[in-house]
């Protein structure tokens, strides 16, 4: 069970009749999905279920093909883009972090520079501390291990103090030590700052550890979306039950 702060009832995202198509192939078809402010939502499902596509749309990097995503009332539709200011309140940590050919510190400062914030030493230092990388601040990012690189990617996202942090299988290739560090940092971010978290994972145990609510996606559709305890203990859909029992092999 998560130890994170319990979310309020204020809606962060409201998705209605949202679809996404690539070359005529529908990869996402969500009738309704609401994400509350300050909660940790974990998206689970097999590869190709549409989880990453959904994250890109929640980060407003891609518009829906039809329907609308409302973020605190601001609409992202096929013909309506979200203003830059709103887009900058959301950020993503990816499964494979791509860092700039600069120092660790410069990578973490990058997002703040994009926003024109020059005096960012304190925030950068704080972000380095959060992911335990103070000793590597001046090291070239390309010399880092996979786990360290992912922690830099998390720090460069958290330093922006986003309202929403999206994570696309951020611990998929990491050792248990780095997995623990990243989970703790994200949980802390949610608990202390009330950041809304949407975390994609294949790992049912990780979903149990982190989630307030869990959604199972299959073939671009939300099969079940429920409180973590209900999702794992009393699943309503047989496919969810199969997933919880580990019968779906990824």
């Amino acid at each position: 069970m998560s130890t994170s702060a319990l979310p309020g009832n204020e809606q962060c995202y409201e998705l209605r009749e949202v679809t996404k198509q690539y070359g005529g192939r529908r990869v996402l078809d969500i009738t309704t999905l609401d994400i509350r402010r300050g909660e940790i939502v974990v998206l689970v499902g097999p590869s190709g279920a549409g989880k990453s596509t959904l994250l890109r749309m929640l980060n407003f990097l891609e518009p829906p093909t039809s329907g609308c995503i409302r973020y605190h009332g601001i609409a992202s539709c096929a013909d309506q883009r979200v203003p830059l200011e709103a887009r900058r309140r959301v950020t993503t940590v990816w499964q494979r972090p791509i860092l700039l050919k600069r120092s660790v510190e410069a990578n973490i400062r990058f997002g703040l520079q994009l926003r024109g914030r020059r005096d960012s030493t304190r925030q950068v230092r704080q972000a380095l501390e959060q992911v335990g990388l103070c000793a590597l601040a001046q090291q070239q990012a390309r010399t880092l291990s996979g786990g360290e690189a992912q922690r830099v990617a998390l720090a460069r996202a958290m330093v922006l103090d986003p309202d929403v942090l999206l994570l696309d299988e951020p611990t998929a290739n990491l050792d248990p030590y780095n997995v623990g560090l990243i989970e703790d940092a994200v949980r802390g971010c949610n608990h202390e700052k009330g950041t809304t978290i949407v975390w994609v994972t294949h790992n049912v145990f990780q979903a149990r550890r982190l989630a307030h609510r869990v959604a199972l996606l299959l073939d671009g559709r939300v099969v079940e979306f429920a409180e973590a305890s209900a999702f794992f203990d009393t699943p309503q859909d047989p496919r969810t039950a199969a997933f919880v029992r580990g019968k779906m092999v990824y």
Partner: protein, 222 residues
């Protein structure tokens, strides 16, 4: 030949003409190369084929094209505009060299930008970058390749002789540069001077490459 003011004039003019031409081709070529690498639009493939063709285009043909354009009866020369340089002036040489260097700079820049991990753009955007900030960041990531593009462009024009001979005319004290002076001295049979000029040309190219490589080394350490 040491201390010969005519020689210094030739060296200085060579650097001026090729330097300005490189500046122009870089200013135009880097954004176009980056745009071709990062954008998808109708006709992009055709433009890339034309660019690659331009990279292997004989400079003397470029010289002929510029000559025809700038001559009194040509479409640009007949305009008698102060903005259009006359034939047999350093300005005409700059035009020819800019055209020669442009596809090299743009083509190598495009290749360098295409070499940057395509996933980087999405990750930069997710951190809140605008389109321009994304493009600039990707270009900075490709900086080593962009420097190579500039070296290739400069190498292509400082050592070029056909086009500058055609549009510059090798006029003493006005449009004579190192390469055209070497041709002239060889024809006159003054091999000693021709070799000396050749060594200066090689030396300049060498020094500029060293400077660029030092810059490249510095940028990788940022």
């Amino acid at each position: 030949m040491s201390g010969d003011p005519a020689l210094f004039e030739i060296v200085w003019l060579s650097l001026q003409v090729s330097g300005v031409a490189l500046l122009i081709s870089t200013t135009v070529g880097i954004p176009i190369g980056a745009a071709l690498a990062m954008s998808r639009f109708t006709g992009r493939r055709l433009l890339i084929v034309l660019l690659y063709t331009g990279m292997g285009f004989p400079p003397v043909v470029v010289g002929l094209f510029v000559y025809l354009m700038l001559s009194h009866s040509g479409p640009l020369g007949s305009l008698n505009s102060a903005l259009i340089p006359a034939l047999f002036t350093p300005g005409a040489m700059v035009v020819a060299q800019s055209i020669i260097a442009f596809p090299l700079v743009a083509g190598f820049t495009m290749t360098a930008v295409l070499g940057v991990d395509p996933g980087l753009r999405l990750q930069i955007q997710s951190l809140g970058a605008t389109r321009w900030q994304t493009a600039l960041t990707v270009l900075v990531e490709a900086r080593i390749g962009v420097i190579v593009a500039m070296i290739a462009g400069f190498g292509g024009i400082i050592s070029e002789v056909g086009a500058v001979m055609l549009v510059g005319g090798n006029v003493e004290g006005s449009t004579r540069v190192l390469t055209t002076a070497i041709v002239l001295e060889t024809r006159k049979g003054d091999f000693e001077l021709a070799i000396a000029l050749g060594l200066i040309l090689i030396g300049i190219t060498f020094l500029i490459n060293i400077a660029m490589l030092r810059l490249q080394g510095r940028t990788t350490e940022i």
